[in-house]
């Protein structure tokens, strides 16, 4: 801790010039290596977009922008529209965030501020384990365990209390936007917890001590001092989680019901972009069909870029405000 602060403040010790020369040479090598790596990433992203764009030309030529707002998906009639999938991707991701954000941040606060260190490190280990579970396992748990539980214990009281709302109307079969959102939230909560916890731990101890010294309670310190300081990092963790939710395929397709329809009710089955690509690509025949699935990939790519850009803007504005 002490040494890194020493180096960061610019007090690099001057040693023999030969050593410095070699360091300088190392600098240049490191510069070139890192530059090449970052260019490689740029090239990969560029190639992906290019490939997707080229291969989705038949669809773009046939449907144009209409593809994005049409809700017909008929492989037999060669009519394709992306709207139900975009809708499903957005609804399930939003629902997942709605559940995962409060849960994740609360858990992160407990782990970093309140739990005894031993318990904290044990729980953190378990949470990181959750992040490593393959998504197909979450999907299986979702369809065989979670969906029946939601059907038996969650939906009836929800419908009783809020049945007048359009989002809780209609028949519930287990597979639905709601189930997909819940499974996704379980999948992304480890990301929010583990990144947020790191960020909270990085808030300088002096700030906490100062707040406590002027008479704040522990909760007041956490809520009014630590949390605002960590805000940027926490938002970052949320967007990381959102990116995962948007692109999640296996788990979603197993619980969402795979029905390309736009309905207000969260209890209805729906579809998502990643799920339809995974479901239909292997057996797709006909160039328009295949290119429509590829174009959906490009749409998902675009959606992710827009959301990432939004995250940047949000983070930089909140960082300015807190500065």
């Amino acid at each position: 801790m002490a040494t890194s602060a020493y180096f960061e403040s610019g007090n690099v010790p001057r040693v023999r010039s030969g050593f410095i020369d070699r360091l300088r040479g190392g600098d240049e090598i490191a510069y070139l290596l890192t530059l090449a790596s970052s260019i490689a990433i740029l090239v990969i992203v560029g190639l992906i977009v290019f490939e997707l764009w080229i291969n989705s030309q038949p669809t773009i030529k046939t449907f144009g922008w209409n593809f994005l707002v049409s809700s017909k998906w008929d492989p037999n009639g060669d009519k394709f529209g992306a709207l139900p999938f975009i809708y499903g991707t957005c609804v399930t991701s939003a629902l997942a965030l709605l559940i995962a954000i409060p849960l994740g941040i609360a858990a992160a606060i407990f782990l970093s501020e309140m739990a005894p260190p031993k318990l904290s490190s044990l729980l953190t280990f378990l949470i990181e384990l959750l992040a490593a579970v393959p998504s197909v396992i979450y999907g299986l748990l979702g369809i065989f365990v979670l969906a029946p539980i939601i059907k038996a214990y969650v939906v009836p009281p929800l419908v009783n209390a809020f049945g007048f709302l359009p989002i809780f109307q209609g028949d519930f079969f287990g597979v639905s936007f709601l189930s997909a959102g819940v499974v996704l939230s379980i999948m992304i909560v480890p990301f929010i917890i583990s990144v947020s916890r790191e960020v909270l731990l990085a808030v300088p101890i002096e700030q906490r001590e100062a707040a406590l010294a002027v008479g704040a309670t522990k909760w007041e310190t956490t809520w009014q001092i630590v949390l605002p300081n960590a805000r940027t990092g926490i938002i970052g963790s949320i967007f990381l989680a959102l990116a995962r939710a948007l692109g999640e395929t296996m788990a979603v397709t197993m619980v969402i019901g795979n029905t390309p329809k736009i309905t207000a009710s969260l209890l209805s089955p729906g579809y998502s972009i990643a799920a339809v690509i995974a479901n239909e690509f292997a057996e797709a025949s006909g160039s328009l069909y295949i290119s429509s699935l590829i174009f959906l990939g490009l749409v998902l790519f675009g959606l992710t870029i827009i959301i990432n850009a939004a995250a940047r803007v949000l983070i930089s504005t909140t960082a300015e405000r807190s500065a």
Partner: protein
């Protein structure tokens, strides 16, 4: 030391038994029997076949792009697709039926234990979303004495593109003109008028198990292996037939009008004992293979698969090819040059 000599000796003998490697890709439904065949065939010949079950669409694309030596498909290629292949490559793509399978209606109806009987009208009505209750007259009339509950029908179909879906929609399009005009020609994925999509046989079966009132279609093999209840279906001769190796084989045997390229649908077949939702599955082989080793290997394998190999299929619940088809295929093998 001895071990080292042994290892050396075995390396030295390798060139003598030079293996011919073949790569194939495609349909998932016949993948278990194909794997078994390739293993068996490798032990009795020096042909090593590597098969990737990536789906029929992938198999068709692979053979079209020449990234694999042969493809496999649960759907017959239509004349247009075959012509496109010929235009691109300058030679034909040959289709070889290998085994037979079937799709069966599985369900979860409260209080019903005996196999339900389905008429074509009932199945089409259910999948069109027009028959919505289990005690509807269309179902009741075919099942006298069965206490059908006043329960909502929840329709399930495959969400992933599948040869099973092709077979199912092929059947529905044949027996229902309304289906044919509304949904259109059979396909691996269609715009379903009703129902929920489950991923894979297991996704459909899992949903049926959990949801009272659910009906879905699964592969016969999957239903038998997992002891799923499934219904009997009325065939074109008016008989209610249970899907099994005999009735699926009968559907193939009773379809004698087979086009030269083997692109034949055997759904709604004429025979009295024929199960109406049956299908062939095909290997797709280019008619021109430049590498003589590969050409001989694939010809040898095809010959073996449709003759000796047929003895292996029933253990895995696939029905065997009718004799007439085997004879016709043997002639087609000679076309591979």
């Amino acid at each position: 030391m001895k071990l080292a000599y042994l290892a050396l000796a075995s390396v030295a003998t390798l060139p003598l038994t030079a293996q011919t490697q073949l790569t194939g890709a495609g349909a998932t439904f016949p993948a278990p029997i194909y794997q078994k065949w390739f293993n068996k065939y490798a032990s009795s010949s020096n042909v090593q076949i590597n098969y990737q079950p990536i789906g029929s669409g992938g198999g068709i694309r692979g053979v079209n792009e020449s990234t694999v030596d042969f493809g496999a498909s649960d759907m017959p290629l239509n004349a247009k697709a075959l012509q496109a292949f010929k235009d691109k490559h300058g030679f034909d793509l040959l289709m070889f039926p290998t085994v037979l399978g079937a799709a069966v209606p599985s369900y979860n109806v409260s209080g019903v234990t005996q196999p339900l009987k389905f008429t074509p009208e009932a199945l089409a009505g259910i999948y069109l979303g027009k028959i919505t209750m289990w005690n509807a007259p269309e179902i009741k009339s075919a099942n006298p004495g069965v206490n059908l509950p006043n329960e909502k029908i929840v329709v399930v179909h495959r969400s992933d593109g599948s040869g099973t879906t092709f077979c199912w929609t092929d059947y529905l399009a044949k027996v229902s003109s309304e289906w044919a005009s509304k949904v259109g020609k059979p396909n691996a994925s269609v715009d379903w008028p009703a129902g929920i999509g489950g991923k894979g046989n297991d996704g459909v079966a899992g949903f049926i198990k959990q949801q009272p009132g659910a009906i879905g279609y699964v592969e016969l093999i999957y239903a038998v292996k997992n002891n799923l209840p499934f219904g009997v279906v009325k065939n074109s001769a008016g008989q209610f037939v249970k899907a099994d190796l005999n009735s699926v084989g009968a559907a193939a045997a009773s379809t004698t009008d087979i086009p030269a390229n083997f692109a034949v649908s055997i759904t709604n077949a004429a025979g009295k004992t024929a199960y109406p939702i049956s299908t062939y599955t095909w290997l797709l082989v280019p008619s021109k293979i430049d590498d003589a080793n590969k050409r001989n290997a694939i010809r040898g394998f095809l010959k073996w698969a449709i003759t000796t190999g047929q003895n292996e299929v029933e253990a895995l619940q696939y029905a065997r090819l009718p004799k007439a088809v085997v004879a016709a295929e043997e002639k087609q093998i000679a076309k591979i040059q």
